[in-house]
């Protein structure tokens, strides 16, 4: 098991190298650092000196790959590739284009993101499982048919509408909770309720439909027929046989998204004014802060790979038939 995990982690290195190379090409080769400086300085103040000063201030004044002027090891290390891109491997994110420490910001803003994402995931899971099981219980009836159509209808609504509508209905019309904002400690609770509710509701359509498919697949299997033949009640069959076996794909589906919860949701966080990583990324995109976007791309890739490894481990725990080797 440990050998397997180590090997998977080693596999991650070439992938992360690839991600790093891709972002390097995207950010430094396709567009030169001069273009970047010009964009930040605005069109009016552009002159070659200002561009040079900006590049120097932000450490973009080095050659891309090989520094011919330097000596010894610095030929490779005193370059943009080394200082800006490879540092990410040791989670040294450097400074953003407006001078803040990205690593510090990420550690600070991770918690609000988690405070939204974790309850949304858990409550959503519970709600979707209940609905999925309920529809599976009423399979091949009109409740099933219309339930599925209702799910498809829920899926067809853009997430933006859920947020805008929810904010208007619950926040503004009923004025139960504040529309947006964030606070520390227990006070954060009242700000979290609305985003979590909306997050759960917007996920019901897709989630319920997916769980229904899983349960229906399990219901068609031989061991369920055997359980019925033994004279077990429908309730027992559904919970002990169908739910337990259906949990394998469900658990793995949940585990794979666990690490990415840190990243937060761009849209939700920006709408509700929550100072998490999602709104951090969105602000960076809007202010065209390439250093932050680059860091988040790399962080996202790392978390994705961690998610894949966790999924494999979860498989072996949930399903004893699977052996990793």
């Amino acid at each position: 098991m440990i050998a397997y995990i180590t090997r998977r982690m080693l596999y991650a290195i070439p992938i992360l190298l690839g991600v790093n190379l891709l972002t390097f090409v995207l950010f430094f080769v396709v567009n030169s650092t001069d273009d970047m400086a010009r964009l930040h300085l605005g069109v009016k103040r552009v002159n070659p000196e200002a561009v040079e000063v900006w590049k120097q201030e932000h450490g973009y004044d080095k050659p891309l790959l090989i520094n011919a002027k330097a000596e010894g090891l610095e030929v490779v290390t005193d370059t943009i590739l080394f200082t800006k891109s490879l540092g990410l491997f040791v989670f040294d994110f450097g400074r953003s284009d407006n001078g803040r420490d990205i690593g510090y910001d990420i550690r600070q803003r991770m918690w609000p993101s988690l405070a939204i994402a974790v309850p949304t995931l858990l409550v959503g899971l519970l709600v979707n499982l209940t609905f999925g099981l309920l529809i599976a219980f009423f399979r091949h009836t009109y409740i099933d048919l219309w339930g599925v159509i209702f799910c498809v209808a829920l899926m067809s609504v853009s997430g933006l509408f859920y947020i805008v509508g929810g904010q208007y209905l619950i926040g503004k019309l009923l004025a139960v909770v504040p529309i947006s904002g964030y606070d520390t400690g227990v006070n954060a609770l009242k700000f979290l309720v609305l985003p979590v509710i909306i997050g759960v509701i917007s996920g019901i359509g897709a989630g319920t439909r997916w769980y229904r498919t899983i349960f229906l697949e399990e219901i068609g299997r031989d061991f369920v027929r055997t359980a019925r033949a033994k004279g077990l009640t429908e309730r027992l069959v559904l919970f002990r046989h169908v739910l337990a076996n259906g949990m394998i794909p469900i658990i793995t589906g949940v585990v794979v998204v666990l690490p990415t919860l840190f990243m937060g949701s761009l849209i939700t966080e920006s709408f509700f004014g929550i100072p998490g990583l999602g709104s951090y990324t969105l602000d960076a995109i809007n202010s065209q802060d390439f250093a932050i976007v680059r860091s988040m791309v790399f962080l996202g890739a790392v978390l994705y790979i961690v998610g894949l490894v966790l999924t494999d481990i979860a498989y072996t725990i949930a399903d004893p038939r699977i052996r990793l080797n």
């Binding site: 992938i15 972002t23 964009l39 067809s156 609504v157 791309v297 994705y304």
Partner: protein, 467 residues
């Protein structure tokens, strides 16, 4: 002077491809069978009619030209306007030109905000001024509801008449084709026992024609869905956004289809190092969060366009290129799923008897791939195209909201929602832009979702086995 944008060309290319596929499919029984199943499904056909209505609007909006400004007689050369219009603009010309000052409610006669107006006696007053175009023909505001009802009734009766004509035409064509008496056919259709669910098809068509005609006629003298901040008709904007949604939804998959198919088949067929390299490429791309990859790419495109601003003749051309690029980059993030599916299927197929036989006869690899494997994975490609459509339409809205979607000057539902964010915060709120975007998007995406379910059920061999 006709103008062809790149996306126009691709869109019409796609239409021809679909037509060619339809002819091809009708000649091959193994393709005709599942499509017949779709044709027999009531849900499938009803949603298809709605989708076709959207496609029709989108295609009308893809025929671009630059209007002629003078007649060009004698020594004066013909001068063309700088503005690029589409055929849809001509159809909706009254709505396009009826521009008010600022916000006005649906069917309103007055602006949504007060203005200081000097009356003839020289007294300044704060009033809601009358709209310049909305309900201009009414001398007395109290006539409005009567006027709206009379317009609706006239339009509805016209629509009903047109629909009856179409019904009669379709049914008589059917009767001639199947050589059955018309009356028998009609009773079959009315009772809903015909093989292809004509009843539901014609009913859906009636709803589409009715809504279209009534809202169009109302739109000539009112702002059916109100006006936006700069006074533009929201109904017109929503129609113009249809094309954006369709382009993003279809071209994205189309552009990256060749890569996904080629790499997927190669990885599965050749295995070994080819497989390793291709798997590495898509795992790497997959591991980058999609939104961030799109964001970085679009940001870089923006930098490029700002630096090379002179390369574009018109604003529209620039916006079009940005849309195409968005399709491309959305495609880059989404082709990996199809590629992985095709790889898995090809791995299975290459062990099948007919491929083994072809290999034993010494058939070239390229021929095996194109003749023996490709046709057998095409159903997966088709399902993927249809399934991805609705997700992409929704993604466009989110991306435009984030500011990395289509050009802010392009009409799109995402841009409409984006502006609605501020409108919902103002007091009193402006709700109609949001509602318009919601209705148009929801209808399209719901129809696409339900249609894709039907197509998947018809083509998925697993579903067929269960029945």
């Amino acid at each position: 002077m006709p103008v062809v944008f790149i996306t126009d060309g691709l869109l019409f290319g796609l239409v021809f491809m679909v037509l060619a596929y339809a002819i091809y499919a009708s000649r091959h029984p193994h393709l005709r069978l599942p499509w017949k199943k779709v044709a027999r499904s009531r849900m499938g056909m009803a949603t298809l009619i709605i989708l076709l209505a959207y496609v029709f609007i989108g295609l009308l909006d893809s025929l671009h030209f630059r209007p002629q400004l003078n007649s060009g007689s004698g020594s004066h050369p013909i001068v063309y306007s700088n503005e690029v219009l589409s055929v849809l603009d001509i159809v909706l010309q009254p709505m396009r030109e009826h521009q008010e000052k600022t916000y006005s409610e649906p069917f309103a006669l007055h602006l949504y905000s007060k203005e200081t107006v000097e009356s003839s006696a020289g007294v300044q007053q704060r009033i809601y001024p009358r709209l310049e175009f909305g309900g201009r023909h009414l001398s007395d505001p109290s006539q409005r509801s009567d006027d709206i009802i009379s317009i609706m009734l006239i339009a509805a009766s016209k629509a009903l008449f047109a629909w009856l004509l179409i019904v009669l035409m379709v049914l008589s064509l059917l009767a001639i084709k199947h050589e059955t008496p018309l009356l028998g056919l009609i009773s079959k259709v009315v009772r809903g026992t015909s093989e292809i669910p004509w009843r539901i098809i014609l009913l859906t068509l009636s709803v589409v024609i009715l809504i279209g005609k009534v809202s169009y006629d109302l739109g000539l003298s009112y702002h059916v869905l109100g006006t936006d901040k700069v006074g533009q008709d929201v109904f017109y904007q929503s129609f113009k956004s249809v094309r954006t949604g369709l382009v993003i939804g279809t071209l994205t998959t189309l552009i990256t289809l060749p890569i996904a198919i080629t790499l997927g088949l190669m990885a599965g067929y050749f295995r070994g190092w080819v497989d390793d390299v291709i798997q590495y490429v898509y795992t790497t791309l997959n591991s980058i969060p999609g939104v961030l990859l799109i964001a970085s790419a679009v940001l870089l495109l923006q930098v490029y366009m700002d630096v090379h601003a002179d390369d574009f003749d018109t604003l529209e051309e620039r916006a079009d290129l940005r849309m195409l690029f968005l399709c491309l980059i959305l495609g880059v993030t989404s082709w990996t799923g199809l590629c992985r599916l095709l790889r898995g299927e090809t791995l299975k197929l290459r062990e099948s008897d007919y491929v083994q036989a072809a290999t034993a006869f010494g058939v070239a690899n390229s021929r095996i791939l194109s003749r023996h494997i490709l046709p057998n994975v095409m159903h997966m490609v088709l399902i993927t195209i249809v399934l991805e459509f609705s997700g992409l339409v929704l993604a466009e809205a989110v991306l435009s909201y984030v500011g990395i979607g289509v050009d802010p000057t392009t009409n799109s539902w995402g841009n409409m929602i984006n502006s609605a964010r501020l409108e919902m915060a103002r007091e009193p709120i402006v709700w109609w832009s949001l509602m318009a975007a919601f209705i148009f998007m929801f209808t399209l995406v719901l129809a696409a979702n339900l249609f894709s379910d039907t197509v998947r059920d018809a083509f998925d061999p697993r579903v067929q086995a269960e029945r």
